[in-house]
Symmetry: D2
Subunit: 338 residues, 4 copies
Amino acid sequence: MRDCVLLLESDADRAEVDRALRRLGVWSVALGDGTALQVASHSQAVDDRTLASLPGVAKVMMARSEHPLLDAQAGVAVTLGQARGASAPVRCGPGAEPLLLAGPCSAESEETAWQAAAMAAAAGAKVLRGGAFKPRTSPYAYRGDGATALRWLREAADAHGLLLVSEAMSEAHAAEVAEYADVVQVGSRSMASYGLLSAIGTLGRPVLLKRGQSATLQEWRLAAEHLLAAGAAGVVLCERGIAGVDRETRNVLDLGAVALIAGIDGHAIVVDPSHAAGRRDLVVPLAQAGLSAGAHGVLVEAHPDAGNARSDAAQAIDAATLQAIGASVRKAAQREDG
Amino acid sequence: MRDCVLLLESDADRAEVDRALRRLGVWSVALGDGTALQVASHSQAVDDRTLASLPGVAKVMMARSEHPLLDAQAGVAVTLGQARGASAPVRCGPGAEPLLLAGPCSAESEETAWQAAAMAAAAGAKVLRGGAFKPRTSPYAYRGDGATALRWLREAADAHGLLLVSEAMSEAHAAEVAEYADVVQVGSRSMASYGLLSAIGTLGRPVLLKRGQSATLQEWRLAAEHLLAAGAAGVVLCERGIAGVDRETRNVLDLGAVALIAGIDGHAIVVDPSHAAGRRDLVVPLAQAGLSAGAHGVLVEAHPDAGNARSDAAQAIDAATLQAIGASVRKAAQREDG
Amino acid sequence: MRDCVLLLESDADRAEVDRALRRLGVWSVALGDGTALQVASHSQAVDDRTLASLPGVAKVMMARSEHPLLDAQAGVAVTLGQARGASAPVRCGPGAEPLLLAGPCSAESEETAWQAAAMAAAAGAKVLRGGAFKPRTSPYAYRGDGATALRWLREAADAHGLLLVSEAMSEAHAAEVAEYADVVQVGSRSMASYGLLSAIGTLGRPVLLKRGQSATLQEWRLAAEHLLAAGAAGVVLCERGIAGVDRETRNVLDLGAVALIAGIDGHAIVVDPSHAAGRRDLVVPLAQAGLSAGAHGVLVEAHPDAGNARSDAAQAIDAATLQAIGASVRKAAQREDG
Amino acid sequence: MRDCVLLLESDADRAEVDRALRRLGVWSVALGDGTALQVASHSQAVDDRTLASLPGVAKVMMARSEHPLLDAQAGVAVTLGQARGASAPVRCGPGAEPLLLAGPCSAESEETAWQAAAMAAAAGAKVLRGGAFKPRTSPYAYRGDGATALRWLREAADAHGLLLVSEAMSEAHAAEVAEYADVVQVGSRSMASYGLLSAIGTLGRPVLLKRGQSATLQEWRLAAEHLLAAGAAGVVLCERGIAGVDRETRNVLDLGAVALIAGIDGHAIVVDPSHAAGRRDLVVPLAQAGLSAGAHGVLVEAHPDAGNARSDAAQAIDAATLQAIGASVRKAAQREDG
């Protein structure tokens, strides 16, 4: 909840105001002589009218939203595929069916791209994910096949009726990515690289924005606002795990953030269980948990032949596991209908 | 996965070993002249026989488990209620039905205890949770009604056919808690307070062990081992959120840890969505996400009259919300049967 | 800085108020219609009178301190050794000379205790540190020699004119520790174990309170308040590193916290560079950095024969290194005099 | 220390090997049947020859360095100002005098630039820092005056015999920054934005590389390697605080990392106490602590009129405080000479 302070009437029964707030799920701290209450940011979301209507409350002073463009997108699904004239645009977000986005970390051959697209389509995915320009921690690691890979992915996606999402990690290649992909991805490491956000936003495409490893929710929302202010056609947020203290998983999937962004803010959000755990045996339960927390989709690394994948092989799942995740996504869709 | 190193045969095809490992979901780093591979701890769990059988692998050197007593408990549910001769012992863990444990943060009156027990039973809970000795950040906050509250809770639980779990935060009161409660709870702040663990373990009861706010999984498992080594009748782990960087939720529920502990380790584990988020509007989605990740139960703060609760009121849920969580727990039970 | 809100006069020049705040090092956020400003907690410390005197500010509403007993100790050094009638009590904190506290992780033999005391005294330490009851992550690790070790340490300390600090990790042994030690230590893992704090506080001794691995400053201050409320004769805080994301050091020594607690709050605080880094080659620079940040002393693990130490051997320093740290402590003392 | 495993001779006295390792400050874990020891990464740095020479050790298997270009720079100061033909190049790093780099967060007017340069020079700074292109969390905040500001800064720096460091946050402006600045800065939020690193490295200038908020040391070193691989003339690392759990400071200055990078790795590194704490009253002690930990310089935000600064005003220091930091830098220089 946004920064908020309540001024009380001089004759207010403070204990009663307190009880009323707690009934609403609001934590507060008394300020000064007790005639003001500071609302804690981890309180349940309550609008200012409700707060103002409580007996004893004279005035509600809440900070204004810093992201009007993102707010304007609240409660509405983001449409993907429109800009490139996809025959079947796909919606992601509030009110839309949960979405599966799947494919290889990097499309290292034409064959990989085609097999991955077939795998994805067979599992019910509507969007193929695939890397052409790869951010790699080491400058000496395989960085993807660039524009060539984009062409492979595009043709494979088209052949299977899929949309395509691919990461742009450099301003220099952003336009090229947007030429081939329906959705431009911003990676976790670039979430707050504002020069890149600006260049990508300008392209006017929908963007998949991964959360930075130690970004607060507000920093994440404001990165989305950067994209929208520059012209992005919509932003789908993607939670992919934040930095934690344990070595047995790579990151910590923050599903409280997903529940908040999806359920309270009403923004389109998907989860990436592959990067969250970094280990293959946890991808399925984390995908299901993400959907249960309210995510509007699952983005997952799948590879037709994980042993030969040139990047992130150990976290990629095979066709059978992808089918299982596809089934979870469909089940989540039915739950929402029912 | 435990610390592990593979020694390769002198004529091994290293690229082929590498591919075989990746197919198994194993990340590795070459050591020295490349005749040894260090397995990363965030690899998919693979047993040493499988690794040893790979062509080119001469020897597998894995660290031994440091928690033999916890390992002995793997794959088996913990039985609760036996020690006090409960007419209907309850099982929590692998193979058992998902469990609902619910009740007030603190039992601040006999009436609260009874109403809470009624609420819990009506929602399908098998275990009443309730605080008698409360750890409070401030020494001036309400600390619970101690032994009196334990009596209220015990009688209310018995009247509704429920077991009782309550926290012991002091060695001085541990025996008293065990006298009334079927399960003794160790709070997050005391997870690594080994004097207390020893005193509680000695009582021979099953223990609900919350994870410390920045504890690694291995520190958590070893805390369980401390309890078992001292004589605890079984340990149910409880994930309640680790420290994060955001202010809009109180903690980050680490469901990757839950998936790993439940699905790979095979230990009994429940989630506490109330403390994880600290805000009422996220309790239901986080409870569902926890079950989807594989948790064997949900521990939740519920209060018959949240506005009048004397501690943690703003995160307590009401009867209707508790019913919804109870329904989720039952649905999870059906999924596992089906 | 404590939670604080400024109400502005209706005709205030808001831009001018803003500038005046920034000149004071205060960050703020506008609330509501802009007639209130929320002060961010990471602002420079400014008292409410100064804020109230700014043109345009109608009212300053600041949260009250939650730790009056700790506040009462501000600006004054804590006296150690008085309770046991030490011939030469030692002061630690504001206005006192920087202090060296040194000794082995655990006193595993009478010889170790005596050699360590000799080492410590030779390096200029006024306080011998030494473990008798050791918190160990594994229940199967060496846990110290208990009361026997306390006797060794006491005699060795007395022979060298040193005071003694030793950890109490269990309520059961707290009184025994206080019988032999001048200062009772609360370990990092027990910082928020309030049952233990209460038992230790009751003994009426000065306490060395280590910060929990993910404790906020306010949680730490309130743990000190728990001790003081129970009767502790004074609390010296000890920063020993918080949980971080890197594997090459064990913890992150938070010297911003030290600068704040020592320089702004005015509380007695020392640093423990041994546990902070966990590696011997960083102990000296971190000890010096701690003193430069304003710490009132350095607590360091030193062992006469590190290769044979039974716990934490790899981070213990030898006599020559301890001499170097002793010299740094003396140099810091001169800087403050000069 | 890099990933490392020791294979023992079949008749080795394991306890003796263990003691020898501990004497060297090395933590280890036994693998398999005990004939291999895994060295923990937080061990004191020890070279493989020393390990190999221990009785009982048959073979030392250490991972190779992933950053050969950064390694080649170890132990040598980075020369700044050469590329633009500065009359007086400045050295930063091992063996060079500690350096002061100071100036405003953003150069929002010609006057500010000139006054700031005068302030910096008067305090003994050799390098003027100043923002022209500013990364701002909100897209609606002031983003700097771009090329115009660079001109102001350049002229002001030249007039006072200072070098200039300024951030490039976009590939589009990187060349422009390099045209005016002697050192190109990579901000914390862009540390792992590899497209930007590549574009900046290509310019062939020395780079000041800030650490990402949750970056491990190895990720940081590899980001430096990205820059060097692309052609950067040298990299000075800058520690500016990592994400922590407390609200009273903005970040946690990781001085263990500084001690390790400066003292063990031998790389050029400076500290930024302004962004670390985010509050003015902690800048001086953190600057001193950074120098004591071994930093080769201090980068600090200073503004001739903090109340009128358009960004980060509340953490900027004034002329008198800058003088105090300049004195600390000179004192550190004398300590190293002495």
